[in-house]
């Protein structure tokens, strides 16, 4: 018997102490009731009486006819936890404890998927955690199977099935080698929840550019920028062009557009032009104006 249960019983006994000596009343409480389900409490004795039930976030009192069963309709007791029932006829009383447990059918699941965005091809980079709740938002603490399914836009999907412990189930998944949005779905019973994970390209790989004359300027343009797995680096990624000449330099940060960064800038003959993105350096060109 838990400490809480002992304290509840002791407290209730103190409250009902004037009536403890009388034992003509009795009731037959179920030890465990599913949240929201209907049940009845057979009583003994005669005449009118009251049944008081106190639990987590709930308290109710019913006038009853002693000697008959007291029916509690579905949905009356819905918060999971320990309840105290006190049956009284005005001069005598009877106290009992029972437990309301979460329904075994999940109604909602809270699905925490992290991160919402990660690089491709990362082992165990995605975590999924599920909390199962019944229709009354009670955490279902009894073990239940939960399946996780991660399906990327390309490539095979990954599936894991775990059993919840104390209402929680979790797993880890790998990100796909190809970029795109992956759907991360958690199933438990008839319910499911979906999260979108953006699997994004990594750093640019083999960054290279060409330079061609364009009037008095040079037109600098990268080859399509891709990561080391061949995924196109997202548009908007900044590429820096630098032209160095005679102790001077010109620079410009250009965002990728349709996989390519390009700019026209004045570059003197003999200048060295280089390209970089973040901490990744690309090729260099000695500009001769042709």
């Amino acid at each position: 018997m838990s400490l809480v249960r002992c304290l509840l019983l002791a407290g209730s006994a103190l409250v009902a102490s004037p009536f403890l000596l009388a034992q003509s009343l009795s009731m037959n409480l179920p030890a465990r009731v599913a949240a929201g389900s209907a049940f009845s409490v057979p009583t003994s004795g005669s005449g009118p009486g009251t049944l008081t039930i106190v639990g987590p976030g709930q308290a109710l009192r019913r006038n009853v006819q002693l000697g008959s069963a007291v029916a509690l309709a579905a949905g009356v007791l819905y918060n999971a936890g320990e309840y105290v029932a006190i049956l009284s006829d005005g001069s005598d009383s009877q106290i009992g404890l029972f437990e309301v447990t979460a329904a075994q059918q999940p109604s909602t699941l809270s699905f925490l998927a992290e991160p919402s965005r990660l690089p491709v091809d990362l082992q165990n980079g995605i975590s999924g955690t599920v909390y199962l709740f019944d229709v009354y938002h009670n955490l279902i603490v009894s073990p239940m199977p939960v399946s996780f399914d991660l399906s990327a836009s390309s490539g095979p999907s990954q599936t894991r099935t775990v059993t919840t412990r104390y209402g929680v189930g979790w797993t880890r998944m790998n990100s796909a080698p190809k970029e795109g949005s992956a759907h991360f779905v958690a199933h438990a019973g008839d319910v499911s929840s979906t999260r979108v994970i953006d699997e994004v390209p990594g750093d640019p790989c083999n960054l290279s550019m060409t330079a061609t004359p364009d009037g008095v300027k040079a037109k600098l343009q990268t080859a399509p920028v891709r990561d080391c797995s061949g995924n196109p680096v997202p548009d908007g990624t900044v590429v820096t062009f630098t032209a160095s000449y005679n102790g001077m330099q010109s620079t410009v940060d250009v965002p990728l557009k349709k996989d390519i960064a390009q700019v026209e800038m004045p570059v003197p003959h003999g200048a060295t032009i280089s390209v970089a993105s973040g901490v990744v350096a690309g090729n260099q060109i000695r500009w001769s104006g042709q």
Binding site: T108, S110, F111, L112, A113, E114, P115, S116, R117, Y131, R195, V196, V200, P201, D203, P204, V233, P234, D235, G236, T237, V238, V239, G247, M248, Q249, S250, T251, V252, D253, V254, P255, K257, V263, M265, P266, S277, G278, V279, V280
Partner: protein, 377 residues
């Protein structure tokens, strides 16, 4: 008879007191007369006086009087002069107040003087200087300024297609279920960091990379921990950083801890911060002809050229200086006083401490831009 003597006596005493007050004025009298705040005009009997008088009139926003004092006012209108002084478009210059003017003679003859004039402006973002070479000419007994007018840049009529990417962010709402997914913050990392000890305190210098595929608002905080474990100070980079970082963009940062000596510091805790923001990849600004000058004044000079079709009202140049081993030696900045018009280069100068000038081997410069909504060409 007595009355006449008293009147004469009072008159004599008054004259004596006025003379004393004029010859040996008390400080408060000097201030209220205008001399204490430097706003007293002098007879322009020397080139420096003409420059200072012009500065006073600009400081007091007496632009018509300033215009009328110019030797070459026939070459341009008063409106041209006003716009040159206060900026053509909304920019830092339109919000600035002239604090002081320093004139340094370059060459002088009896009738003409060439002066290098540093206009020291005060803004909400701190002070900045505008240096111009000005000619002062003699007309009779007066010296007058030949104002080197910077004319309003003219951008030819054209259509500049701009289709750079724009990121919009929708965060999860307060009514969403518990545990519902939100968009993760950008992944940023410090790629270089170095503390520097200087007379004015400890500086933490470094560079921050947006390692993600989304734009970020960034800041860097640092905590200095003393040898006894106590916190010596917590500071952030304030405006010595480009707060908006596009994917794979790198910004320098500089954090200042005044009144701390590096010998007191046992460790430094760095806290890079990032928030996902809506942003546009536009405008693209070229930084042209960057040249590091060791002499006569250690500085980096160059030009900014706005490649987009929109006016950039506020531009902030941030430069990282490295030694021959690639270590960060210094981070410096400069706000540009004028708006950047499309494809109209604007000069800039970033100052470098003289004692570091010889250590610098290379540099890297970026420009942060801001154009408030509703501000038009």
């Amino acid at each position: 008879m007595r009355g006449a003597v008293l009147a004469i006596g009072i008159g004599i005493v008054t004259v004596v007191l006025v003379a004393i007050g004029t010859i040996w004025p008390i400080p408060s009298a000097i201030y209220f007369a205008g001399s204490g705040n430097g706003n007293v005009l002098r007879a322009p009997s020397a080139p420096e006086d003409a420059i200072q008088n012009l500065g006073i009139r600009i400081r007091l926003h007496q632009l018509p009087a300033a215009y009328n004092s110019l030797a070459n006012k026939a070459e341009f209108t008063e409106s041209d002069f006003d716009q040159d002084v206060t900026g053509f478009y909304t920019s830092l210059r339109t919000q600035a107040t002239l604090e002081s003017v320093d004139a340094q003679p370059l060459h002088q003859s009896d009738d003409q003087a060439d002066m290098r004039v540093r206009f020291h402006w005060i803004t909400v973002l701190g002070p900045y200087d505008d240096t111009r070479d000005i000619q002062v000419v003699r007309n009779g007994n007066r010296w007058q300024v030949d104002w080197p007018l910077v004319r309003r840049p003219s951008v030819p009529a054209q259509v500049i297609p701009v289709n750079y990417l724009r990121w919009d962010v929708i965060y999860s709402g307060s009514t969403d279920e518990w545990g519902s997914q939100n968009v993760a913050g950008p992944n940023v990392r410090i790629v270089d960091m170095r503390p520097v000890n200087r007379a004015e305190g400890v500086y933490v210098l470094g560079e921050l990379l947006n390692n993600d595929v989304v734009p970020a608002w960034v800041d860097v905080r640092a905590t200095l921990v003393g040898k006894d474990g106590n916190i010596l100070g917590r500071e952030d980079s304030f405006d010595m950083i480009s707060h908006r970082l596009l994917p794979k963009q790198v910004t320098p940062f500089r954090i200042h801890f005044p009144n701390v000596d590096l010998s007191q510091v046992a460790s430094i805790r760095m806290h890079p911060e990032s928030i996902l923001i809506s942003a546009s990849a536009d405008p693209v600004v070229e930084i042209l002809n960057q040249k590091y000058n060791v002499q006569p004044i250690a500085s980096l000079t160059g030009q900014l050229s706005d490649q987009s079709g929109q006016t950039v009202n506020f531009a902030h140049v941030l430069s990282t200086f490295y030694d021959s081993n690639g270590n960060v030696v210094w981070v410096s900045d400069r706000y540009i006083g004028r708006a950047l018009l499309p494809q109209s280069p604007v000069d800039f100068t970033v100052a470098v401490p003289e004692d570091l000038a010889r250590k610098i081997s290379s540099e890297r410069t970026i420009v942060a831009t801001y154009s408030p909504k509703g501000v038009e060409l």
